[in-house]
Structure formats: structure tokens, C-alpha cells
Symmetry: D2
Subunit: 436 residues, 4 copies
């Protein structure tokens, strides 16, 4: 975890205290059910909950100190609870294995993280939608290969991002559902010493599904899918970030990351506003994406389990969730406050002297009866003049003045071919598809 | 594509001929709709389909020869079709852009590949299920960290694999749905020169959904998710393969990849049967997994599109699908024919002289009123003897002979603690969860 | 392997015939030494070489046909050789194991591939150097964060690329040396049935070093390092490709991938020249890079060896080498023929009305005794005017007209601060460092 | 950074204080040279060093507080220094850019980390060498595919590890040399406002080489190579870890990770000693390896620089170095204290009733004039009996009793074929190659 790329709410999920709180809940709920089943006294769970309801502070240092002696984290925790609750606490953990607690806890942490990330996505989607509607008909040049192609609107760019992050939202919902399972099945998953109803009880209490078949551990294909999904979301973050970085280039300057008037005033180089947020997001995306691979390598544990996955998850569990949460927040902020320059967009769009309309003219000439070869020749000879003038000549004007063109198309007809609205007639259709 | 890791049905999807057939269908369906809309003569589509219904051979070499001149694959194809269909063919491709054809074709290829992979998974699941039922109650030692833990059954191992590949099936269904979209939206996705109803028409005809918003290309987060999903499936293949490799180790030998009696007879080293199929699958899993990353890097195309994704997809499109298809087939074969040795499983289970039951004895002693410390001491002193005997002494016999133990537990009670069935009482519960 | 991204010379190294030729050489050289040692008759090697000197065609189909029966590639080959050479051939392969042949062959293939790649790098370096010298003093704007910073020269950009690919060359020399080892050490690397001098003899004959300690296989950390090195080289290819793609953007257009006059003439959209080669290279870089990970996963083979590495290498061996060879060739071509537009570079450089020189003016004012705060205020108020004029006003002219600035700096002094040559005074120093 | 996988000496390199100390040194050395050049007063550097020689505490909190206002880390630091040193400090950083400090600092941190890692490797190599010599002739079975093959010695296994980590050492030396460069070249690397001799001076003072050509930043191919090298080393750690995990399996038990007598005594399940250290190392290797990819993606920065690499390096800089340092330390400990069980090795070796010697018998029969087919048949029929007896019959005894075998080979000759020493005759040769 890199503190500067972390927000408190997500970080809290991954802190020791949160972990211990989940541990307690799992143990107390399990003890409760064991009480019902008559395996332990009902008083055990009562004592645990009575203490918990006093809202006790989880003394992480004390637990750590015990662990330093016992060399076992779960036992240290149980010991600490027993010190606080008293004798009844000895009935905790009956028939359970450490992984029952650890893996179910990881499931809760990942599910809670996913919930936060879903909120993040909702905020991002809302910001994108607002900007999409704001700029639904703001013309800008569409570019393929970095080269001017045909007009689009800035709203369409936002609509694409909206559709993409909506897909990411659906993927995350699916990944969350996959990861939110509870396993309390004992040393090798056979429920040898614990009734399956305990698992069901704890699962219900924590809002999880039961793991149909576990092997001391929850199978790691679930986690692999979760982290792979985060990697895809990160890649979409990169895409939108790269778009902003391109738009902010000195030569393009169609949009800029927000800067306060104060920031602006402080510089003797007013052009030097760097898209540092989206550059940063580009790097963060690389990191989040990279976590997918060790997560996939974790799947092939030996036999019923080995513990090689654990060290990997100590890194990527918090790092992937915390970093993605931060990145989504930052991207939302970027989108929300993005300075959009419609005039500059228009200026760039016109930069090529109307060459982006040459396709339509070509078609119109053909439809007006000119042969394909001749149409090509006519457009080309004028297009080349525009091109060589570096955009100072206008294709429309040249065409109007070209006798052969004139013979086929009136000024009005030509002008119609240079009409931007022609390109935007389906924008509303697309918006309906995307925003419903 | 490595020929030896390829099966014909999947390979065919990725061959030039299959590609050109899809191209034709897209173009013909689009022309059909354009005819309905009055943009082109209805006779155009009629001519195209009339020719197509003669079931013409797609002459890949001829198309290649034209491409060598035109330097453009789609134009080469259109030219070749025109040569065959005649004048009416000139109405094809009206208002469309190459990517409309290319990206929709990739969608069809990936969807068809997914269909084959789903069939593969069904066959694999059936094989696993059969072996699970066959060995539902075949005892074998459960191992954590590679060390004997508590008994499980071989059927449970299969049930885990079944549950895991069922999840993979569901993931692939989702990934297939994501990828199966049709985009016919023109040069920058604005439908400037083509009506959206054409896209809908082609989508319906090909069994695809429309892409809500495209930008000349279908957004690559869809593909990233698809290939990431294949990577997760591959990781599960690795897991089951590693299990088989472990079981086949000389010292374990609880199962073996199938060998024909002939193979067996041919060797002067009858012990030297190598798990080469599952080793091979382990390597293939590494490859399939590795494709997830370039697929994720493909997401952040520049502006409306750049073509950097294309070269990546020429590798990973066929390679990931063909290799996974092969791997699933090979794994199904391995599972189906796996030689399972219940006697050896039992022998290994008993290898530790009953030490795997020590936990239960410990618990029984405590429940019989012996203090935790004493119970530990009693079990331990006998366990150590067994251990030092390298499994030649029996823990049960030693405990029966231990006076202090005797005072707490009868022979019958002790024997009950060494009963394997105790561990298997919930096997049926787990099977119900997994197989329904 | 994707045929369109493959060149014949490199592809040939990875074809079956080349492989079999190396196999023969290894076997024949080994037999030769075994003859010297008296293990086999000297006539054996003589017969082998006598036949080889007739330059026989390697009949891949025939060998394949035998393999279809024997199910063993090396035995199939030996059988085919025996069919051709006759009885003396039976002495081949004495005391050797298949991996002795296979792994040493892979070493030869990788070493030969590295040799080709080193030639590729030399050609690329030569092209870069030529362009660097050509444009040593061609001014262009340096950009950080995509934003104009201070002037550089196009030659400097080339010098950076030269230095980077020189490092890559040195890395590849090291990686080649690592990979070029010969192991002929028998079933588990103990030389139980073959004298170490055979290994030395074959190594010498093939220009390899002996593998100090092998375990049936050559250790895979060597290969991991090799493919990781190719991944780094690919990343540098991506860097230079991304630079070209940026320079070719419509708004920047400081350079373009070459297009023939014919190509130019054929388009009615003269601006639509897409940097498809460098986009393609960007994608290829992603692929080559991705091979590093499965290569690293291959290192941890089980005990003395498992064969999981083999399937991976059947993909990445040819694919990484062939693709990188193609990519280096393509990049060399791009650099060699790159259309460079110094006028446009100058135009872009001047685009900001001289704002890129504001730092120097600031410094000059301070050195002229103006307080830091005042200097800032003076530069800033003029810079803002330029900025708001969208580059139509000139910072130099505004400063000359600013009374407070005038009081500190003469026109001449101001002009000196806008002198490009100031920035290029160390270009020669840098060139000396890079080109020697 | 995960605290439990971190050691203090390496962690210290990556802490803010260490970073600021390097910043100071760079600035002070640069100021010193600028003084010599007459650009700033000589008294400036004198004042800086005078203060530094008082060994002042670096007040990280104070610097952070300033950064919270200035929003710029380097300016915050310079301000804090100025507060401490006084007026003379204003001459610091003249003509430099932040990246001059930041990138050179990263170079120092990576170089120092590499130095620690080289020490780690030396300790590991020493431990491996000691165990190699200790067990130079300890027989153990060599395994290919997890199946018994032919005898090796445990010392040979160690020799392989020694050779592999020696290669890793050499790679790290090369990677260290690559990374240890100093760039002080200004905003776009042109030395516009700073003399190249300053760079040389600082480089010399810090034990770095000058970066021949930089672009505000040091090119990231250097870093990519560095992290890729760490990934390869991690893969070798995984290999040795997997070996230990295999050896510790219940059924194999030829070696175990160390446990103190106390640990042993505390368990009622003496067989349940889990190879948790090497499982943990397996996971850590996955993480370290994964950092290679974002490092490679960092290479293609835009134009002279973008800052996307920075966030990546904030993760992988410390995480890769700290985790690898920890992992090497842990592996050294594992090797150093590994419990090796030669008796069990011998028992396993003999497990197959001598089948591992069948190859040699086969050869001997052929050499004694038996036809290849007959030899095969003779060995096979006895081998099958041994195999079916599950190792209770002895191949040697059966062969001695086989009339047809007897006719070809005497008892003595047969016994010689079962002699382990035959396999170890070149162990010394191999040791000489590896250990010199």
C-alpha cells in the first residue's frame, strides 16, 4: 500500500482492527449455532455477544503481543478474546480450523471492498453522464490512428466511457458475488468435526453464500476472477486517462485537467499545465492490472491446500482494492472538473480546411452521376491544394470554384456536404442506447 | 498456433476461409437491409445470396492475390466477390467501414469459439462427475502443505473440480455474451452514412447483440474480459493437472494417467510412466494465462481507435481459443481414463500409523474429562513413538496399551476415533450441494 | 507464429528441417568423440559424416511418419538416419538421453536467433545514427507530459534511441552468451553413461559452452533471462513507435511514416496517412513482452525435471524470436524512411509565442537585480497575454514593450534569451557521449 | 510493502529520511561544482556541508508540512534546508530540474538495494555451498516427471542451485551497473542551464556513471531490465522452494524445514510439520516476478517524458527490493538449517526394488552379446515382477535367479550394475565445474 494512493474508507477495511472485528463476528455467530446444536453451552455465545455489545476496543497491540509468543494469529486472537470475555470464551472455534476464519474474513473484506468500488463506479458514471449530456452536441473531430477522421461530439466520447464503465460495473457485481462465500468446513473441508449448518448460519449472518465444497480453503479461482476483473476495470481507467492526456497536449488542447485560478496565476509558464492526474492514473492502471497474474498463479494450490497464496494476497488484497478505489475517485474528479474547450475543438475540427468532408463529397459526386474515377480525381485535386496550404485554403471554396464540380453539384448541395449536423443525426439514438 | 496443440474444429473457425464466409454474411445481410431501406437496389442482396446458395468455394489464394495488389484486405475480398457475383455486387459495403466487418467477424469467431469451449467444458464436467460418483466414498488422505492431514475421499476431490469448472462454465457464458456484439456504425461510430437499423439487422441475423456505442471499433474491454476469463479457466486446468502429477509421483502413486497395456508391456522400466499429459497441460495453462495481459493493454486505444490491438489479436485470438480447446479436450481425456488406485490410497492413508486421527483422540480425551494439558501429553507420547517407528507402530494399539489413556477411554471408544466413516458423514451433503 | 509478422531467415531457424540438421550434428559430433574414446567404432562417425557430406535432403515427412509409429521424436529421427546411413548408425546416441539433443538444439536455435537479432539491431542502430546526424541541429520542441517544455533537436531524440538500443544490444549479447550452452550429461545429469569429454567436444564443435551442471535439462533460468531481455527490447521498440505515432498526429505532424508518391496520389484524403506500422509495432511489443512471464514460470521445474516447460517453449521460442526479428526490421525501415518535417517542427516550436523561453527571461531578470517576486510578476503578466492570444502575440515583443522589463534588460539582452542556439550548445557533447 | 516481509536494513533505504539524505547530497555536490564553475558563490556549498557535518536530523514531518503548502516535494525540501542553513542555501538547485534529483536518487536507492541483494546472494551461495559439500556423496534418487529415474546425490542438487544463483549474482551485478547512473541535465536533457561537468561531479561523488543522454528523466529501459532481473532471481527462489516442498511431502520426507526441538515437542501430530517457509517463498516469487511487467510498460514514456512511471515505481521500487531481500534471507535460512535425511533418501532410492538400475542391466546384456530384443524381454519380465510386488521383490535377486540372464552375466557382473558409485563417478568433475 502506498499511502498517497489510498483513501481512508477503503484502507480501513484492510486494517488489522477491521480484520479482527470480522474474526470475532465469525466466531461468535459460529458459537451461537453450536449452542443451538447443543455442541457448546448456549451461554457461550451469549457471553461473547454481551461483551461485544459493550463496543470494546480491539487492542491490536495486545493481540500482536500474544501472537509473538504463540506464533499463531488465530490462537492469539482467541486468547485475547478469552482474556476479555472470560471462561465462556473457551467454547469458541470448536471444530473449526484457522482457514475457516481467515478465508471467510477475506471474503468479507473483498465483498466490502467491492461494495465501495461499486459506489465509486456509480459516482464515476454519474460524473460521466453529466458531462455527456452537457456536451451531447459539442462537435469535435473523431480520430483514428491519431489522424483526423470524421466529426463526432464530445458527448459521444463520454457516452463510450459511460457504456464501458457500465460494463465494468456489471462485471464487478458478478465478481463480488463470486467472492462472497463462507467456508466453515474444517481441516480438509469434510465437516468432520463441525456441522454444515454452522457454515450456513455464519454465511447468513454475514450476508455470504456458503462455499459448496471447500478444502480447508476457499478455491482460488474465485479470487483470480476477482482480481482479473479489477485488472479490466483498471484498463478502462487507463483508456479514459490516455484520452484526457491526448486532449491536453499543447497542440490539441481540447480539454484540460482542472486547475484552480490560484494555480494558474502562480505560473510564469501558463501553457505548462500538465495532465499529471491522468498520467498518474495510467501508472496505477499498470499496477492494478499486474495483480491479475499472481492471482491466477495462486489457483493451482497443492492437493487440499498449500499456503503459497497467502503471501500474494497480503500484497494484492489491499493493494488492488485500495489503489483501484483511489484511482476511481481520482478519475471521477478528473471527469467532473475537466475543463472542456468547445471552441478549440471546433478550431481543430476545421484545421484541415474541410478535408474531413471529402468522403461525403466523393459520394455525392458519384450519386450525381460522375464516374467513381472522375469523382476521385476532382476531389483529389482540390484536396491536395488544401493539404499543401496547411489548412489555410478551404476545400468547400475550392470545390465551389471548380468548374467540373460545379457541373455536378450546386453550391447549396456542396455546402450541405460540409454540414456537421449530418454527422450527429444519430447521436440521440446512441444516447438512448447508452443511457436508456 | 502450434499444430500439435490444435484440434480441427476450433482451428477451422480461425482459418481464412471461415473468416471470409463471415465477411460475406455480414456484407450480404447488410446489403439486404440497405435494399429494404431503399439505399441500394433490392436486387443486390438477391444476387449475393443467389450466388452464395450455390455454395461457392472461397478461393483464399485468389483473394490473397488481389490483396497483394490492393494492399487492403476488405477491398480485395469485395473485389473477388464482385468478380463472381457480377455487377450487383458493387452495392455491397455501402456506408460501411472495414472495421465494421472485421470487428463483427472477430465477435462471431470468438462467440463460436466460446460455444466450442462450452461444449468442451460440458464434456469435462461429465467426465469429472462420473469419476466423482465412482469414487464418492473411496478414502484417501487429505493433504495440507503436502503433509497428511485428515481423510477425504477421491470423490470429494472430483467434486471440487466439478464445482470449479462449473464456475468456469458460468464465467465463460458471461464472457461469451459480452463478446458477441455487432458494430456497423461507420468510420467513427456515428452512423453518419449508414442507418442503425442495418446494424440491428446484421446482429439479428448473426445471433449477436448490437454494440450500443462503437468508435469504428468495438471497445476492447470486452475482449480483455474474454481473454482474462480464458486465463482463469486455464489456471483451473493447471490446478487439476498439478493434482494428477502429484498423485502419480513414484512415492504417492495413487493415480496415473492412462497407458494402454501395450505401452505398459513395452517398457523395461515399468515404474517409469510419466504424467506427461498433465505436465503438458501445466505449460499450456501458463501460455493461455499470459494472453490476458496484452489483451488488457489493448483496451487503451488512442481516441476513437488505433490499430495496435490488431497484431495482438492475430496471435491471441486463435492461440488462446485453440490452445484452451485442446487443453480442455486433453484434460477430459486424462480425467476420463485416469487410473485410480484405491488400495494405494488406503495404504498411504495408513502410512502414518494412524497419526492422522490424533486430533480426534485428543478431543475425546478432553471430553472424557482429561485436562487439555494431560490429554496433549498422553497423545503426544504415543504419537512420537509411532512417528519414530516410521509408521510401523500403530497409534491405536499404543493408545489401547497406555494405562492413562485406558482410564479415560475404552478400546471401543478409541476404535471409534479411528473410524474413517466419521469423516465421510457429510460427503453426501457436499455432493448434493455440488451436483444438485 | 503469425506468417505476416515473420521473415524467412529467422523462420528457417525454427523449422523442422533446421532442427533435424542440428540434431544430426549433435549426434554425429558425439559419436565422433565416442569413437575417439573407444566406446563405439570410429567407423560410426565416419559413416555419419560421409553421408552428411553428400548433403542429403532431410525428409521431414518421412521422419514424421516414423514418429507416428514410435511416438518418440528422437527415436524416429535416429531410425530415419539409420535407414539412410546403414548399420553404422546404430552407434549413435550411445549413453545420451533425448534431452541432451533437444536442449542443446534449443540452445543452438536461440543462439542463432540472437545472432540474427544482433544483426537487426546493428541495422537499426545504423539507421538511427544516420538520422541523428542528419538532424543533429534540427530544432524541435521538447515536451514533458505532452506539453511544450524547452527546445531540443530531432537529432537528440535519435541519439536517445541510439543509446537505448545500444544498451539493448549489450543486453542481448549477454543473454545470448547465457543461452548458448551444451548439455550432454545423461538421464539425470550425472554422466553415468557418457563421458563429460563428449559434452565438451560437441560444445566446441557447435560454438557453445558446456553447461556446468545439468539435470537432464539445461536450467530454465537461462531461458527466462533470455526472453525477459527480448521483452525489454520490445519495450524500447514500443517507445520509439509511440514517439513516431505522436509526431504523426494531425495536430503535430512533425514526421510521418514513409508513403510512396503513388500512395499519396491515390487518396482523396491526403491528410489521412495513418502511422499503421508503428501502431502495429506497439501491438507486437505487447506480445513479445508477454512471453517473459511464462518463461519465468518455467524455471521452477519439479526435481531434476518435468516437461511443463516444453509446451511453453514451442510457442514462445519461435514466436518471440520471429516476432522480434520482424519488429526490428520494420522499425529500421520506419526510421530509415521516416519523413521528417523541420519546418513544421519550427512552426510548432513557435506556436506558444515564445512562452517556452519564459524561464530564461525570469532568470535573466533576477540576475539583473530584479527581485524574484517582481521578476515573476513581470514575466507572468506578459506570458498571460500571449497565452490568451492563443499564440498570436509574441512574448519577446511584449517584453520589449514592457517598461519595467526594459528597465532591467535591453532588447538585445532579451533577444538573446529567445535564442535557440543557447539550448543546443551541449548537443555536441551529448553526441560525443552517445556516438563516441 | 508488507511489514512482515521486510527487513530493516533494506527498508531503511526506501524510507523518506534516506531519500532526503540522498537529495541533500546531490544538491550539495552540485552546488559545490557550480561554485567551482563560478556560477554560484563557493560559500554556498561550504555552508551546506558545514551544516550537514553537524549531522542534523532530517525532519520528515517538517518537510511534509511544507509540501502540504507548496504542493511540490523538491521545493518543500529545498525550503526546509534553507530554513536550516540560511541564506547561502538559495544557491542550491541552480539550473536543475526536479527529475535531476528524483531520478538520480532512485538510481542511488536501487544501487544500494542491489548491493544488499548481492550480499544476500553471497550468504545464500555460502549456505548452499556448505550443504553441497556436506552432502556431496549422499545418494538420493533423481526424478524426472516426479518419477524415479536414476541416482544422484543431494550434493548435486545443491550444486545446481549454486550454479543457478551464481548466474543470478552475475545478472544482478550487470543490472546494478545499468541502473547506477546520474542525470543532471535540466528540463529536457539539453544542459541548457547547467554545465555537464556538474553531472560528472555528482556522479563521481555518489559512485555513479553519468547518463549519456537523458530527457529530463533517466530512460526506463534501465529500470525494466533491473526489475526483470529481480523477477528471474525470484523464479530461481521458487525453484529451490518447490524442491524443498517436494522433499518434505509426507510420502517423500527426505528433508524438512528446520523446527526447534521445542516446536517438535509441542505437537500431538509429529508428522504435521508444514513447509510453510518455502510455500511462503513460492508466493513471494509470484509477486516479485509480477513487477517485471509494469516496469516494462513504463519504458514507452511520451516524448521527452511523462510521469506515468512514477506511481508504478512507488510500488515496485520498494516492494520488489524489500521482498526479494526478505525472500533471499528466508531462503538462506531454510538452506542453512534444512534437516536432511540421508537414510530416508536411501530408503526411497531402494523403494522400487532396484528398477532404477534396469537400464544398465539392459546395456550390459546387449554388450554381453544378447540381442536387443532378447535383452529387453529378459529385463522386462523380471522388472514386471518387481513392479507388481510393490517393491518387496528385488530386481537384482530375480535377475540372478533367471537362467537366461545367468547365461549372459555372472552374479558379480550383475551386482556391479546395481552399484550406486557408478553413478557418482563424475560428481567431482561437476563440483569442480561449479565450485572451481
Amino acid at each position: 500500500m502506498v499511502p498517497r494512493y489510498a483513501r481512508p474508507e477503503m484502507t480501513a477495511i484492510w486494517e488489522p482492527e477491521a480484520k479482527y472485528r470480522i474474526w470475532f463476528e465469525i466466531e461468535a455467530h459460529a458459537t451461537e449455532k453450536l449452542g443451538e446444536l447443543g455442541v457448546v453451552p448456549k451461554s457461550a455465545a451469549e457471553a461473547l455477544w454481551a461483551w461485544w455489545n459493550t463496543n470494546p476496543t480491539v487492542d491490536v497491540d495486545a493481540i500482536d503481543a500474544i501472537e509473538a509468543v504463540t506464533k499463531h494469529d488465530v490462537i492469539a486472537f482467541l486468547t485475547w478474546v478469552a482474556e476479555n470475555v472470560g471462561d465462556e470464551a473457551r467454547f469458541m472455534h470448536q471444530g473449526m480450523t484457522s482457514s475457516d476464519v481467515l478465508d471467510t474474513t477475506l471474503a468479507v473484506q473483498l465483498a466490502r471492498s467491492a461494495d465501495l468500488l461499486l459506489q465509486d463506479l456509480d459516482l464515476l458514471l454519474a460524473a460521466i453522464k453529466r458531462r455527456a449530456e452537457e456536451h451531447k452536441y459539442t462537435p469535435t473531430i473523431g480520430r483514428s490512428h491519431g489522424i483526423h477522421a470524421e466529426p463526432v461530439t464530445f458527448g459521444l466520447k463520454m457516452a463510450e466511457a459511460y457504456a464501458e464503465f457500465s460494463r465494468n460495473r456489471a462485471r464487478l457485481v458478478a465478481a463480488r458475488e463470486e467472492i462472497a462465500t463462507c467456508a466453515i468446513s474444517g481441516a480438509v473441508g469434510t465437516f468432520a468435526n463441525i456441522d454444515p449448518s454452522v457454515e450456513q448460519h455464519v454465511a447468513d449472518a454475514l450476508g455470504l453464500k456458503i462455499e459448496p465444497v471447500s478444502t480447508q480453503v476457499i478455491p482460488r479461482d474465485r479470487h483470480a476472477m476477482f482480481f482479473a476483473t479489477l485488472g479490466v476495470i483498471a484498463s478502462s481507467i487507463e483508456r479514459l486517462s490516455v484520452e484526457v492526456r491526448h486532449l491536453q497536449r499543447t497542440e490539441v488542447l481540447e480539454a484540460e485537467e482542472y486547475f484552480s485560478p490560484g494555480q494558474k496565476g502562480s505560473s510564469a509558464m501558463p501553457h505548462k499545465r500538465n495532465p499529471v492526474l491522468t498520467e498518474n492514473l495510467t501508472g496505477l492502471a499498470r499496477m492494478i492490472r499486474s495483480y491479475a497474474l499472481p492471482a491466477m498463479e495462486n489457483v493451482a494450490l497443492w492437493h487440499e491446500r498449500d499456503i503459497s497464496h497467502s503471501s500474494v494476497e497480503r500484497y494484492i488484497g489491499p493493494d488492488a482494492c485500495i489503489t483501484l478505489d483511489f484511482a476511481l475517485g481520482r478519475l471521477t474528479n478528473v471527469v467532473d472538473k475537466l475543463l472542456v474547450y468547445p471552441e478549440r475543438m471546433r478550431k481543430n475540427l476545421d484545421k484541415m480546411g474541410g478535408l474531413v468532408h471529402s468522403q461525403r463529397v466523393l459520394l455525392a459526386l458519384t450519386q450525381a452521376g460522375v464516374s467513381r474515377e472522375d469523382a476521385y480525381r476532382l476531389v483529389q485535386r482540390n484536396a491536395m491544394k488544401v493539404w499543401e496550404s496547411d489548412g489555410t485554403l478551404s476545400l468547400l471554396e475550392l470545390l465551389k470554384a471548380d468548374e467540373e464540380v460545379k457541373a455536378a453539384l450546386s453550391d447549396e448541395q456542396l455546402e450541405e456536404k460540409f454540414d456537421l449536423d449530418y454527422h450527429f443525426k444519430e447521436v440521440d439514438t446512441i444516447f438512448s442506447r447508452v443511457f436508456g
